[in-house]
Symmetry: D2
Subunit: 356 residues, 4 copies
Amino acid sequence: MISVAIINVTSYTGLELLRLLAQHPHLRVTSVTARSLAGQTLGEVFPQLYALPSFTTAIDPMMVIAEEPAPSDLAFVCLPHAAAAEAVAQLLERGTKVVDLSADFRLRDVAEYEQWYQHTHPVPALLESAVFGLSECYPNQIAGARLVANPGCHSTTAILGLLPAFARGIVEPDVIIDSKSGISGAGRSLKLGNLYSEVNEDVSAYSLNGHRHLPEIIQELQAVAADNGHPQSAIRVTFLPHLIPMTRGLLATCYATLTPEALERLNSSSIQELYRAYYAGSPFVHIVEQPPHTKWASGSNHCFIYPTVDTRTGRLIVISCIDNLMKGASGQAIQNANLMCGLPETAGLPVLGVNP
Amino acid sequence: MISVAIINVTSYTGLELLRLLAQHPHLRVTSVTARSLAGQTLGEVFPQLYALPSFTTAIDPMMVIAEEPAPSDLAFVCLPHAAAAEAVAQLLERGTKVVDLSADFRLRDVAEYEQWYQHTHPVPALLESAVFGLSECYPNQIAGARLVANPGCHSTTAILGLLPAFARGIVEPDVIIDSKSGISGAGRSLKLGNLYSEVNEDVSAYSLNGHRHLPEIIQELQAVAADNGHPQSAIRVTFLPHLIPMTRGLLATCYATLTPEALERLNSSSIQELYRAYYAGSPFVHIVEQPPHTKWASGSNHCFIYPTVDTRTGRLIVISCIDNLMKGASGQAIQNANLMCGLPETAGLPVLGVNP
Amino acid sequence: MISVAIINVTSYTGLELLRLLAQHPHLRVTSVTARSLAGQTLGEVFPQLYALPSFTTAIDPMMVIAEEPAPSDLAFVCLPHAAAAEAVAQLLERGTKVVDLSADFRLRDVAEYEQWYQHTHPVPALLESAVFGLSECYPNQIAGARLVANPGCHSTTAILGLLPAFARGIVEPDVIIDSKSGISGAGRSLKLGNLYSEVNEDVSAYSLNGHRHLPEIIQELQAVAADNGHPQSAIRVTFLPHLIPMTRGLLATCYATLTPEALERLNSSSIQELYRAYYAGSPFVHIVEQPPHTKWASGSNHCFIYPTVDTRTGRLIVISCIDNLMKGASGQAIQNANLMCGLPETAGLPVLGVNP
Amino acid sequence: MISVAIINVTSYTGLELLRLLAQHPHLRVTSVTARSLAGQTLGEVFPQLYALPSFTTAIDPMMVIAEEPAPSDLAFVCLPHAAAAEAVAQLLERGTKVVDLSADFRLRDVAEYEQWYQHTHPVPALLESAVFGLSECYPNQIAGARLVANPGCHSTTAILGLLPAFARGIVEPDVIIDSKSGISGAGRSLKLGNLYSEVNEDVSAYSLNGHRHLPEIIQELQAVAADNGHPQSAIRVTFLPHLIPMTRGLLATCYATLTPEALERLNSSSIQELYRAYYAGSPFVHIVEQPPHTKWASGSNHCFIYPTVDTRTGRLIVISCIDNLMKGASGQAIQNANLMCGLPETAGLPVLGVNP
């Protein structure tokens, strides 16, 4: 068994990791931390964990939450940005492999990071060795990495939806991403906008001045375009997230213009084929033939993608959806940990989501 | 008092009309119809109406639902398309003014109608005299009309959001409308996709092959552009509706490209001014300075619009939202009836929506 | 016009008062306060209010929120308990009539109050003149009162559901009240348990050690029993509230045992008659013939009550439901203000709720 | 591997069985049926199943739905009552073991069945050998049975909540069960009351004239009382279910009167101990020390029970909650199948539910 620590276990991503690790065949939770609730047991913070001991020894609900992690083979860091970077640096020094769920090591360009996050990066030297943790993009690098930067939930959905189109050079470098997400992405933080009475029966756009997942999206689309011989120096992305009244789920509707050649040569069906071929080896990405529902993915690590051509306008529309706490956070983190530990990529991840 | 009939009162739009008419100072419901439930009383179908007699005489919960309407000054037709056209023709013959909530008289071009609705128009001769019932566009024509075609809910939201931009010629004739709506727009029909267990905790796109509100949107944007000296023969619109887990509310996010001149001359603030000036005389349209929430409009006839420039890409983003059963259906219908009857435009409409 | 102040306008009950007062024919808001947001305008805190000026002069969205109220004829106090009592005392001294939405003046027995609320009552001398503000119970006293204590939302629903049974002495003095309420009753406070991700798809009981609405319920049931010659010195009430995933609505299911005489003499139908007769003069209370839905009342001041006999066990089951922010708070407050000002009881209150 | 058939796979319980069987270590789906959708593949009816082949061979999304089941070791019958009984008879004749999720074999007394279900039982001879499938009650009988009648969701929750109290004879034989359930229990049937717009933001009671789960509850409480030397010939149960706006989850609040001896001898804490001892060997039943949330159980087979004494009235309150599609249907069915096949009781069942 491989020992793992969860740093800031009292977040929603921490809780979701506990659920997944409770039945993981190879990883075992040996240490959990959280500043504000240190001293309490896991079971006191999450009473549903008292259901655990009856059939698993993977996690002990009586485990006491510590301030600092005990040594382990691997750690999941669920801290907010900036705080995360410092914890990551300490863990790496100890020789612990890290999957960082924060934004601190996603952007390769430190200047870009500092502009978007408005503070000095605590450990810029680590940026070079960090791997962007989208398993479908960088499986080999992740397998060899000591620090993996788990991508943002919006970024994951949008990048997976647009990667094949950019890699194959079938779209103009100008794209609109209209994203709709459940509220759990906002975490357990006590803000007026997260209250039930505010969220229920409401939809609104947010981060109109630029959401922090935007530079990740640009970085990765640019990279894949370049890698595949389609250098697109000036990718223009409009990315607008919306909050909708549900707990889990994230759906990105991506609008791009097909290149004249692509428009002539391809249709919805052949683009679906192209997408299917692109993701042939990816156990969690599924190209479907009808508009997908976020509910299909609920509780699972799957991503459903539906690319289609709006024949009236020649636009490529790609609808991509996930469970934001799974493929958009903790599920992806387990997938990365599996790769880093030489385990099967799907180990410990549910086969199907929970429906209805 | 002006007597009104509600045709197919057992629909959600019929029920919403009852709510509004129950406290309308000048309109009185004298006749209600519904094929399948004829013979029952209003109170049997909608038990909440038993609350009525205690403080109003505007509607009687013991009123029997008929198959055919009794004569009245005005009628609201809440039938599905095709059935609506036939009922409208009969009502007009009798001399009854009509607000038709179906799609039968929205499109001026009968060929367009027949292509989108896949059947022969029952009474094409009436199309010429029908007025598109968006009160903000055609107040004078509505005031003089005998037949008003209440617009679709998606169309209303999108057109109101884009009108000023097209009228002032500040955007290229190429626009993407990403629309998110509550489920009540689908009516009381018994379809799997309308079940609570399917809709709850889910978001999905629909009508990928073209939603029937698209031709209305194109027709009206084209018209306003032409009227204001910006003939845009080739308006390209991608319109994609999404279903989200809420009962009421509709939010359209519109993406357009500013013309080079507009981009140079205007910014978010001046565009908001331009919008505010455009809607200066409109009591229900409000230009706001932050992303609006559908909840602000819930239960009211208001439309909130937020135009802003995405400075990274030079795109104009306009967010427009309403309550789909109000400004998107029954509220707009009352507003139209008010205009047709020479009443104050706001008569009988709630001042504020219900929050939270 | 009668001038009114809203103390702590930034609460949900304050917001609901604004909605109702915006179209009240006789009351006009002239002063609003809130400690933490003083200095901001109403429109800044509640942007949906920008919709106001277009058709009403009743409330000005540019009104600045003050720390202390300006003089007015009447004030609605929306403060938490203890803070409320102090504000009430000051208002009364100035000669302002008060509807207090807190719990500070609901219990006639100061000892009872101090036991349940765990602090010394700031102004016990005022308790004697305060009237319990359930309009259906004390219309004349309310009409003559200077201080009315608006009842709790759970209390209102349960008391209205059980009053006729206790007044007519048809049940044993032993009752179970199982209450289900939407989350808006918890207000706009930032607690983990109020977050969307916690409330959504969940139901749970709370206040197992005794909810503070219990003594109000006992006080009023005891009083009505005594008044009607059924002194029941030992009323035993088990009251258990549950939180369910909706914003508005409160439904109390009350279980009582019919007295042997009542069981012999009465059935569901005759008990419904008895209830109907009891509430004959009450415009907002409706005895219905099928289980009511909270949705019927949504946005309105109505209360729907369904009493029925469980013939298998001889138990009386009474289901009573309201909108907790309306009949359970701000709607009831307006009804009380109407009575206190000699206005029609229904003035300014919506005829019908918002459905669906 | 043990081969299993799912009869009427297109129900929600059928879909939930597919989810569980997709990662069951010993059971393999070899046949699925559904009258109305025969000829389609599983993947056509439930597109989310296309995610399957990538990591499991347990279920094939291309499996064609048949009208009649192919032979298998065990079958899960998800048909409505009456239809179920006939299918069960045929399966048993073939030598297939059956877990029947309908109500057809839950009641031991055929007269009782025929009174509640208002039709003649198709195969009354099978009633004798059927075992009531509450694994915590009848583990040995289930292990040896060929026909197990999976209990109703309300029954499961209430019986588990009350069993220890009745077995130990600490309560009077008179109990009130107020049950709150999500809408998925109503299945995928197209009824007005199941529509999102009707269920959302609403709570209501139903089956006021007697819900069909009531006789199951009485049968089992009576049996356990008798078995434990507390023959209670006249158990009086009032059972009232409520529908609340969520997809999954069921919470029963049970009110009983402690016997005078129990009241003197026991308190909340000692009753919790008594309950804990009673369920010591049950991996899915958990006695907790605070009011449980249905969300704790979501997606899992767990049942959380909180017994406590209302000291003001001497009543025992027991709150019991489950996921209605899991412990209340398909999870319980798998648990039964495990017992019937000599497998570990917990095989194939998730360790933890999905939170938030």
